[in-house]
């Protein structure tokens, strides 16, 4: 069992030194262009900020391999640090360790629900290889509008890579679900 503090340290590896932390806090203001209530820190996409005497090195990790929002997030990190007076800012993408919805902050999940997107339920499990079986048991997804658990998946792939499309059978509204990865 991972403690909350240990989990936070993995999900949001804030730098220890004051100079880097100051830059981290600025970079952490950047939001996901598709889901503008979530910052890159809430998502766990911001992986490191290192300030040295003459440069700032930021690393981000993509949520999905082909996520087009990464380009915008990178540009926004460059812009926000430049406007704060930092020079020689570089942004690097890292793939490992692979991003997971487990890194999303509790605050982020609450903001998602408020925004009308159901937050990921449960934890990511990488299934071992072997027979997949046609049916996968899922936890019920709660409607972000009326909180009903009487919902169903309309389409596994939604408006962006990270979401699937659901419908609430009680309030009859469709909604996005941030799927577990």
């Amino acid at each position: 069992m991972v403690t909350t503090a240990a989990h936070e340290a993995i999900s949001r590896p804030r730098p220890a030194d004051a100079a880097s932390l100051a830059a981290w806090i600025i970079a952490a203001q950047v939001v996901d262009p598709e889901i503008p209530v979530l910052t890159i820190e809430d998502l766990g996409v911001l992986r490191s900020v290192r300030v040295t005497s003459d440069a700032v090195a930021v690393t981000l990790t993509p949520t999905y391999s082909g996520c087009p929002a990464m380009d915008a997030m990178r540009d926004d990190v460059l812009a926000v640090l430049a406007s704060a007076g930092y020079e020689n800012v570089s942004v690097r993408l890292v793939l490992s360790p692979a991003w997971t919805t487990d890194w999303m902050s509790e605050i982020g999940k609450a903001k998602l629900r408020e925004y009308g997107i159901a937050a990921p339920t449960g934890h990511a499990t990488v299934r071992s290889s072997g027979p997949a079986g046609p049916i996968r048991l899922k936890m019920a997804v709660k409607c972000p509008r009326c909180s009903s658990l009487n919902t169903r998946e309309l389409a596994h792939f939604g408006s962006t890579s990270c979401k699937s499309l659901y419908e609430c059978r009680d309030c009859l509204e469709p909604f996005d679900y941030f799927k577990v990865l």
């Binding site: 993408l93 890292v94 939604g158």
Partner: protein, 284 residues
């Protein structure tokens, strides 16, 4: 695929041979992994194999946008294609580090014999059942492949695989559900599913063929033939539930890994590459 990330690779532009078009320095590609990892020639070739499979399949799936049987499928196939483009970018970027080429150089400026993709990914989209049969075969294969490549001795390959396996897991669920639905739907949908599976099956053998390169990449690559039992075990329960039989019959010649392709690939590349070749260095 062009973007503006920093990279440790020198620029390589492409001059228009007629000299009419000014060519900017090609924008460099994402440094997708920590540190300036350079692929050895053999690893680069392997990354090219896998990257080309994903790239060609993604290009195929993109053609379904606005053509799928329902809006949700437009979105689903587009999302799957986007994931595959992501894998292709990572793999081709890494392959290019061995020869100072960018992912765009590799995607847009190679011709047919230089592509290393399997024949199954260049098979035409056909009707929806053909596309689903192709997805079913390829995504199950890719899941088994990437599951094992997570333990590759090559850190970059392992990192790409660890990312990709989670996405491909969704792809195989998607295709599995459609195989069941089509096979158990109407007489027409069942007939089409059976036809599609038997049309695609001759190209399965090539996927699991051990080309000589594999012998030189012990611990880095996964031996394709070693994936076959797991692949068979994964698809068997689906086919059983769908009451489909594994087609028997001829085996296609293959040869994609050495650049021998069917006529389909040239048409596909012509469409994929035309814009870049007509306007070298263009960006938007």
């Amino acid at each position: 695929m062009s973007n503006h990330f920093e990279a440790d690779v020198p620029a390589s532009g492409h001059e228009d041979e007629h000299g009419h078009v000014a060519v900017d320095v090609t924008t460099l590609d994402a440094e997708l992994i920590e540190g300036p990892s350079l692929a050895t020639p053999d690893v680069a070739e392997y990354a090219l194999w896998l990257g080309d499979d994903s790239l060609i399949l993604a290009q195929q799936l993109g053609a379904w946008i606005s053509r799928a049987p329902e809006l949700e499928e437009d979105v689903a196939l587009g999302n799957v294609a986007l994931d595959l483009i992501g894998h292709a970018r990572s793999l081709l970027h890494y392959a290019g580090t061995a020869t100072n080429r960018t992912e765009d150089d590799l995607a847009y400026w190679r011709t047919e014999p230089d592509f290393r993709s399997l024949h199954i990914v260049e098979q035409p989209n056909g009707d929806f059942a053909h596309t689903i049969a192709r997805q079913f075969i390829v995504s199950h294969y890719l899941f088994e492949l990437y599951s094992r490549l997570r333990a590759s001795a090559d850190e970059t390959i392992a990192a790409i695989a660890a990312k990709a396996v989670k996405e491909v897991d969704y792809h195989r669920d998607h295709s599995t559900q459609w195989v069941l639905r089509l096979a158990q739907g109407t007489d027409e949908s069942r007939h089409r599913m059976i036809t599609a599976l038997s049309d695609l099956w001759p190209y399965v053998e090539e996927i699991f063929r051990d080309d000589p390169l594999i012998d030189r990449l012990e611990g880095i690559a996964v031996r394709p033939s070693s994936l076959l039992p797991a692949f068979d075990a994964a698809i068997a329960p689906v086919l059983a539930e769908a009451e489909l039989e594994v087609p028997r019959g001829f085996v296609a010649s293959g040869g994609g890994r050495t650049g021998k392709h069917s006529e389909h690939l040239a048409f596909l590349l012509a469409e994929m590459q035309v814009l870049t070749r007509a306007h070298p260095g263009a960006s938007w």
